[in-house]
């Protein structure tokens, strides 16, 4: 037995040992002495399903200890920040890691549990020397001055602080450049190291922030080995370079003198789509970038209105573009400052989010998620609903939801019905266009035949007819008929009238007792009270049964209503898809015919000119000879052959049916 147990234990240990690293939990446990704050934050980005996800996690420091569970699957560069401190760079792996901080220093810490730390440590030590040099300047000189300034804010303390900062800035820049140089050297010397890709992230960030040349940064990236490039850090570096490039390209596009890029965006105010190109004919279009929290923007509105009033007849137009993220504040600012004179849109970046928000909140609530018109929304109504809900064991609330759902579905059905009408109209119009194009093509082919007949007297061919497409047969959509469901009302009047009857019976009993005994004993009162209570109990049960039954019936009716709405939507969707297919097919043939017609004209027109050109005296005199010569020429035969083949293809397209 012991032998078996031992084997099992060995097996389990083996399995644990074989578990891949990616499945291991990444935990970073850390200690810090004399932490300046109670909380610490970690930031990092990881690639999951080809999507870059940014993580930020904050935790409390308890007795100098803190711990983070990290969502990483590969070597990742993370940044740790204690409040008001510089960010601390650390390479983390999907393993159990232990970290010790010696004060808040960017590069001065001890990390155990990762393989990358062994490679990074020598570089980190060198970087720490320079970083400490910068830090000393600040802790020794700037921090006391800052403290002094905070205690006594006057011109003198400010001037002293500023002078010292200005004096120390070149030293700080010098050491920063040293750090940058060290990192660049490391990348160049270690193209096969993943740490190099991590260092490149900082170089790109600085290139963006401090306007270092990006081209040299790109060179550094190309210098990395393919293996490093395909790692998560390498891919992140590539993505950031691309982002910086895109931003620069965007900045160049919007430089003075450049043609404004067109944009198309949905206006929350008017509900229309606003395109810059729609205002192409206007003399001047002013893009007014504003926000409801920007005081200067708000101050400028009266002048803008005056300007607009004065010049709008001369082709002056304004489009307001707001960077507001709070939709409510944005809409109320438009109302408050009366900004509906010219189109108003939200910044395109936030638009989709805002549009979805609006769709989720307003459209659904106002348009679809409609509450019954007769719903009593007062406090008393709420109490009644609560009572009804208790009596029916939650069925009342369920019925209300079902009724809302039914209303929502009915509204959707009505919309679908409207959409079907619009689609049918589009389909009809496109069919008409196609028919015109087919007639034109038929006539062109007939003309070509006439021309070909001149060269060859005996020609036989299949008789063509103009193809008239049958209109698409749409599966008949049933009439829109979704029954309304009424809410069930609790018949309190009936209950109280029954209870009134019971009460009068009880009183009669008491009267009788008075008549017989000459008074009412305690026992009589108890008897009457018990009878009354039993009566009340039975009446209540009856009422509850009735209400529950009605409620169930209403729920079943609502469910039937929902079912017929679903069936209607199903048929409508089917019809819409067939319309869509028909529209796509018709437009496909139409475009092909238009393109083919262009090729036909290019082949037919020169021949027609030569054979049926303008009549003239010389043509009249020498006609037969010249024509005959031309008709006998090889060139004419070549041209006719080309036209014939072209017409054959043209005809094939013209005979293509929309539906078989």
């Amino acid at each position: 037995m012991k032998k078996y147990l031992f084997s099992i234990l060995i097996g389990i240990s083996f399995l644990i040992a074989c578990t891949p690293a990616s499945q291991q939990k990444a935990v970073l446990e850390a200690t810090i002495e004399n932490s300046p704050t109670d909380t610490v934050t970690i930031y990092y980005r990881t690639l999951e399903n080809n999507q870059w996800i940014s993580f930020s996690d904050t935790c409390r420091i308890v007795d100098g200890h803190f711990s983070f569970d990290l969502h990483i699957n590969d070597l990742t560069k993370a940044y740790i920040k204690f409040d008001n401190s510089n960010v601390i760079e650390v390479y983390v792996e999907p393993k159990q890691m232990k970290m010790d901080f010696f004060g808040v220093s960017v590069f001065n810490y001890n990390l155990e549990g990762t393989d990358s730390e062994k490679i990074y440590k020598p570089l980190r030590k060198q970087l720490a020397n320079f970083e400490d040099s910068i830090q000393i300047q600040f802790t020794d000189i700037i921090d006391p001055l800052m403290k002094k300034f905070n205690q006594n804010q006057n011109e003198e303390t400010y001037r002293t602080l500023k002078e010292n900062i200005d004096r120390l800035r070149p030293i700080s820049v010098h050491f920063r450049n040293k750090i940058r140089r060290l990192k660049i050297d490391y990348i160049q010397d270690n193209p096969n190291s993943l740490i190099a890709a991590g260092q490149l992230l900082d170089i790109i960030r600085w290139a963006e922030l401090e306007s270092y040349p990006l081209d040299s940064t790109k060179m550094l990236y190309t210098h990395l080995s393919d293996e490093v490039k395909s790692s998560q850090l390498g891919l992140l570096a590539k993505k950031i370079i691309q982002d910086v490039d895109d931003e620069k390209a965007l900045a160049q596009k919007t430089e003075v003198g450049q043609k404004a890029s067109d944009f198309s965006t949905y206006s929350l105010v008017s509900g229309d789509t606003i395109r810059l190109s729609d205002y192409k004919g206007k003399s001047y279009v002013l893009l007014d970038f504003w926000s409801s929290t920007c005081g200067n923007c708000i101050k400028g509105f009266p002048s803008l209105k005056e300007l607009y009033k004065k010049y709008r007849d001369k082709g002056f137009m304004i489009i307001g573009i707001s960077s507001d993220s709070d939709k409510k504040r944005y809409m109320s600012a438009i109302e408050k400052y009366n900004l509906k004179e010219w189109p108003q849109v939200l910044d395109v970046q936030d638009l989709e989010k805002a549009r979805q928000e609006i769709a989720n909140q307003e459209d659904i609530k106002k348009k679809y998620y409609i509450e019954g018109e007769s719903k009593d929304t007062s406090f008393l109504g709420g109490v009644k609903r609560f009572g009804k809900n208790v009596i029916t064991g939650g069925k009342s609330s369920k019925l209300e939801k079902k009724m809302d759902r039914l209303r929502c579905l009915s509204a959707s059905c009505s919309d679908l019905k409207e959409n079907l009408k619009i689609l049918a109209d589009f389909n009809k119009r496109l069919s008409d266009y196609l028919e015109t194009a087919r007639i034109t093509s038929y006539r062109n082919l007939f003309l070509a035949k006439e021309l070909i007949f001149i060269g060859k007297k005996k020609v036989e061919g299949k008789k063509q007819v103009v193809l008239v497409d049958k209109s698409h047969e749409i599966a008949e959509v049933m009439d829109l008929k979704v029954d309304k469901v009424e809410d069930v009302n609790y018949q309190s009047d009936l209950f109280f009238s029954n209870m009134g009857l019971s009460l009068s019976n009880s009183l009669d009993k008491l009267n009788k007792s008075i008549e017989i005994k000459g008074g009412v004993s305690k026992g009589d009162l108890t008897d009457v009270a018990i009878d009354f209570a039993i009566d009340a109990l039975f009446h209540s049960i009856e009422q509850i049964i009735d209400v529950n039954k009605e409620m169930k019936e209403a729920l079943i009716k609502a469910e039937y209503g929902i079912n017929s709405a679903i069936k209607y939507i199903d048929q409508s969707i089917h019809a819409i898809l067939i319309y869509k297919a028909s529209l796509l097919r018709q437009s496909e043939i139409l475009v092909a015919l238009v393109v083919c017609n262009k090729a036909f004209i290019a082949a037919y027109e020169p021949l027609r000119e030569k054979i049926f050109g303008e009549p003239s005296l010389s043509r009249y005199i020498f006609k037969n000879k010249a024509e005959e010569d031309f008709i006998q020429s090889i060139q004419f035969k070549e041209d006719i052959k080309h036209l014939m083949i072209l017409c054959s293809e043209y005809n094939k397209i013209n005979q293509s049916k929309v539906i078989e």
Binding site: I566, E588, A603
Partner: protein, 141 residues
């Protein structure tokens, strides 16, 4: 009042209530039947409601799946054809500019071969098969 006397009073009251309740049921024999009938009706309706809810959920799921699939098929079929046609259109445009007859005819042949093949033929066939649960869907791959 001692605990025993409290218990006795409660016993007496319960007995009185039970007797009264018994009398009430004797006087109104329909009351119990009505409650029993209501309970049976409640169970029947609950069963019907659940079945309806399940059926509706199933129909919504089926409808959504069918719509998404047919929409995707349409997009894929016409998308592919459009890409091929656009390439032919571009080639034809260039050929017309340079009067290259061979390319003109080749691109026209390409256009006609695509356009003359009706994609809706197979699409409507697919829709028919998809809508009819008893129809066999033949897969030629």
């Amino acid at each position: 009042m001692s605990d025993d006397s409290k218990k006795n009073t409660l016993k007496k009251a319960s007995l009185v209530v039970a007797t009264r309740l018994e009398n009430h049921l004797k006087d109104n024999p329909d009351a119990l039947n009505k409650i029993q009938e209501a309970w049976r009706e409640h169970n029947r309706m609950s069963f019907q409601l659940k079945a309806l809810e399940k059926q509706n959920d199933k129909e919504i799921r089926l409808m959504t799946m069918k719509y998404e699939q047919t929409r995707e098929i349409l997009q894929m079929v016409f998308g592919e054809r459009q890409t091929a046609l656009n390439a032919h259109y571009a080639a034809l445009d260039d050929a017309l500019k340079s009067d290259d007859r061979e390319i003109i005819l080749a691109s026209l042949r390409g256009i006609s071969s695509i356009v003359s093949q009706n994609p809706l033929e197979s699409f409507s066939e697919f829709c028919k098969v998809w809508d009819n649960k008893d129809e066999t869907l033949y897969l030629d791959f």
